[in-house]
Subunit: 530 residues, 2 copies
């Protein structure tokens, strides 16, 4: 759970995960054999000279190792750029302010001098949110790694204020010491920060039960070039447009979060859950909808489609009785298109009711082991991507959300769009999907797609598939992102989603705090100007 | 539930409510005898000539009756201004656009010509949100009364789109016809509109269970001077700052809502509830906190303090056995400071658990009759205000919200502030309070204060008490408003709550859609300029 972060890959050194032989055979069957991406290494980079900042008044670094380690995030093009050493832009320095006042001071200096600032928490953005942009202006990565820990706890109100750079496991450890729990567990939990969660409108695995980060956000302090902007926690208010919700999701364009007050609760006494199989994706979707609309949803609702179920079983490396049982189950005609469904977390009585309804609607319980195994392994899954890339398989994940009535069309439209684009490109694509983060009025769909990498065309091929995905989603009523955010990757499409009027409002906001466009330019608005 | 709206008073003609003799005796005991406010009448007003608008292209009125009926809302100064005929500003016309395009057309014409536009739904604002401002510019009230009814229903997703001018009872009738229910029941339910709810961040009686209007808001269409701005419904998204939440609470400064998509649900099978008595306000607060934090809260949580309990019992005109029982109960030493607590609405099993916990913590059940009576009468209560004014009692209600840890200090601070300000003014004030709209991290406190009216000093006295209230609340961690909104009344204090940085962001937004400041000037920002 700790240790040195890997370069150009997910997570910590020594935590790498290898896919099973069965999974690789499956992938080869679906997309063929590709050209492996070079392994990540910090050797052989030739960084341009760091442009001077003069006196920053805070601790900062300009050595190559620091500049290299903080030039990009975890998007597909980020990883390819770093592993093939074609990455173009590097920060001129990496600042580590230790107080909100120091963050403000850096921003104020940057605004006066026209330096670009890229705020960075855990650096796990998969949409280019922390990718250093190319450009003439000196660029500073502003790390929040020295703003760590619990600031204060109001136990009576269940309100905990954290420094923005506090990592997920640190949040829960601090809270546990005081008998509290947050329950916000995004896939990046071990690596990402409170400030990053709020800046990107993050959602955790348990969001169906505990809410998204915007539901947990009660108050905040944000550093702007002009000073510190504090919004005290209130349970609810009617004093004009909600400014906390306006800052939440601003992705560094409206300042840098320095302190965040979150709604916390009593830790659960137990954490029960079941892995189930439903006869089909459509049966599973209908079941999820009913659970949500009847108020029976547990904290985690996660339905894999048939392809993802196949890959999950192949990756699970079942042995002995488990293997035989699984083969027998999926061999039954009823479960030939069987889909895995996880229902877990939350109050036991409610869960039992959910399981009962699931059973009535045709779900078959595989017991608690699958739930416990998922809980144990869930933060390991992203490590697989790096291994797949090393084996020649391109892979990316894209997620959206839409009303229940739009999900079937969306699901099929995305498959069609990716397949036909891949055909035109002369590659094969394998598209997997799961439904998670369910709501009364809809749910998010999380797509994973694989293709065979082609040397020197990795990013070009990816960009074509990504574009096909976005166009399909936006034309079928889905949102550009349910929880990954906009970053630089989705910025060209932001206006398609929010309209020219919406874009105008957002630009007016950015311009008012940052007239020179020094705050994370390229994020939200593609042209880099506010 | 329908009929003609009263002039300079709450609700409909023929629905007036008179306070009981016992209640009046109680008020006289606490604040003394005041000077009755003149009865409301439309006679004797001398309106200035209506300034011309030329061709508006939509149905509009300029007769005195229409101008008089739409010049103000339901705030204390509004009512005094109208009843004493000292009201100063009247609209030059009242427009009734029938389509979103017509709303846009009116706004576009107004922007070009520099006319002021005051958007108006049900006209029930108690904070000056629809009070026509004085000024040189011709002023048009834009009514949404021809934008009525259900636009579309997505039953699968539980999403209903309404025209913005649809009234509360119409919303529920339309939904009931399709087997759905919204459950948003603000005090103004019978009079207010979907657009008004969203524009002001309204909360209903059942908000603890069904959520506030911002939780129910999934999508919207807003008319701006430049065009129609549509945000399609999505269950959740991470595409920058949440624009729906930015429009919600904009109180007419960022355009006029024309269509609103709300999250609806299955109607409850039953609507159980209990009226209880807790030994004290502090016991009751602690109980409410526990119910909320343990996930046991019903839809309605409403705790009256001891003074409000006394007045409620006096107003209830209990007779026979009920009267005797109530006297016996409150005569017991344990309930000498007894407070009424309503817990009702929602799932039966959950309610039973809530009642059980309440009982364990010392609450005594008065049975379901009090709940049923409250349900029957709750939309009648605001009518009492007009009767009190006619009898010489000044009365206003102010509400706030704060974390649980701040509520005790806030409650006492407000009492102290009002009492000492009243003393300085040479009047007596009687302050009542209830806690409602509870959350895991805090609750709203709703204060009602009475004083004896002094002829020709009604507004001046009120303003002093109001100011004392606001200063106390803001200095003790409360919000300026939990659900009444900002309007023109709270605008001078907005910056105190959101800071200069927050005010700057809000002004930047307003300026970007409305550079000439024609949209509801004076609301949110006191200077009338964007």
């Amino acid at each position: 759970m700790s240790g040195a972060r890997r370069f150009a890959g997910w997570g910590f050194f020594g935590q790498e995960v290898r896919p099973s032989a069965e999974a690789l055979a499956l992938l080869r069957h679906h997309v063929g054999k590709g050209d492996p991406l070079p392994e990540a290494s910090t050797d052989g980079f030739c960084l341009p000279r760091s442009r001077a900042f003069g006196r920053l008044g805070v601790c900062w670094e300009r050595d190559s190792a620091a500049r290299l380690a903080h030039c990009a995030g975890q998007s597909f093009p980020d990883l390819v750029g770093l592993r093939t050493k074609t990455q173009k832009a590097f920060p001129d320095g990496v600042a580590h302010p230790a107080t909100p006042e120091q963050v403000w001071q850096v921003l104020s200096l940057a605004a006066r001098n026209g330096w670009v600032v890229v705020p960075r928490g855990g650096g796990t953005s998969v949409v280019g949110g922390v990718t250093v942009p190319q450009g003439e202006r000196p660029t500073l990565v502003l790390l929040t790694d020295r703003l760590r820990g619990l600031v204060s706890l109001d136990g009576r109100s269940g309100l905990a204020t954290f420094w923005a750079g506090t990592l997920g496991p640190e949040v829960e450890a601090e809270l546990a010491a005081h008998g509290f729990w947050l329950g916000h567990e995004p896939q990046s939990f071990e690596l990402s920060t409170v400030g990053g969660w709020v800046a990107t409108r993050s959602a955790g695995h348990r969001s169906t039960g505990v809410g998204r980060i915007e539901d947990l956000l009660a108050g905040a302090e944000v550093a702007l070039p002009e000073g510190l902007f504090r919004l005290e926690p209130v349970p609810a208010a009617a004093v004009g447009p909600e400014l906390r919700q306006l800052l939440c999701g601003s992705e560094g364009r409206l300042g840098v979060f320095t302190r965040v007050t979150l709604r916390v609760r009593q830790p659960p006494r137990s954490d029960p859950g079941l892995l189930m199989v439903v006869p089909s994706w459509w049966d599973g979707m209908e079941l999820c909808r009913r659970l949500l609309q009847e108020g029976l949803a547990p904290q985690v609702v996660r339905l894999s489609d048939a392809p993802e179920t196949t890959l999950a079983l192949a990756l699970a490396e079942l042995k002995g009785l488990g293997k035989v049982a699984s083969q027998l189950l999926f061999a039954r005609r009823r479960f030939a298109q069987g889909c895995l469904l996880l229902l877990g977390g939350g109050e036991e009585e409610r869960l039992r009711r959910a399981w009962r309804v699931a059973g009535q609607l045709g779900a078959w319980s595989l017991g608690a082991w699958g739930w416990r195994r998922w809980l144990r392994d869930r933060f390991r899954h992203p490590y697989l991507r790096d291994a797949f890339l090393s084996l020649g398989f391109g892979v990316d994940t894209c997620e959206t959300a839409a009303p229940w009535s739009a999900l079937a069309r969306l699901y099929e439209g995305v498959h069609r769009a990716l397949t036909s684009r891949a055909q035109a490109m002369g590659v094969r694509v394998w598209t997997l999907c799961h439904l998670s983060h369910a709501y009364g009025d809809g749910a998010s769909l999380y797509f994973t797609f694989f293709w065979a990498l082609r040397r020197l065309r990795e990013v070009e091929d990816w960009a074509q598939l990504k574009q096909a995905w976005v166009e399909a989603v936006l034309s079928l009523g889905g949102t550009l992102s349910h929880h990954h955010g906009v970053g630089r990757m989705h910025a060209p499409w932001l206006e398609r989603e929010v309209g020219d009027q919406g874009a105008k409002l957002l630009r007016a906001l950015a311009r008012s705090v940052d007239p020179r466009g020094i705050l994370n330019p390229g994020v939200l608005f593609p042209d880099g100007e506010p």
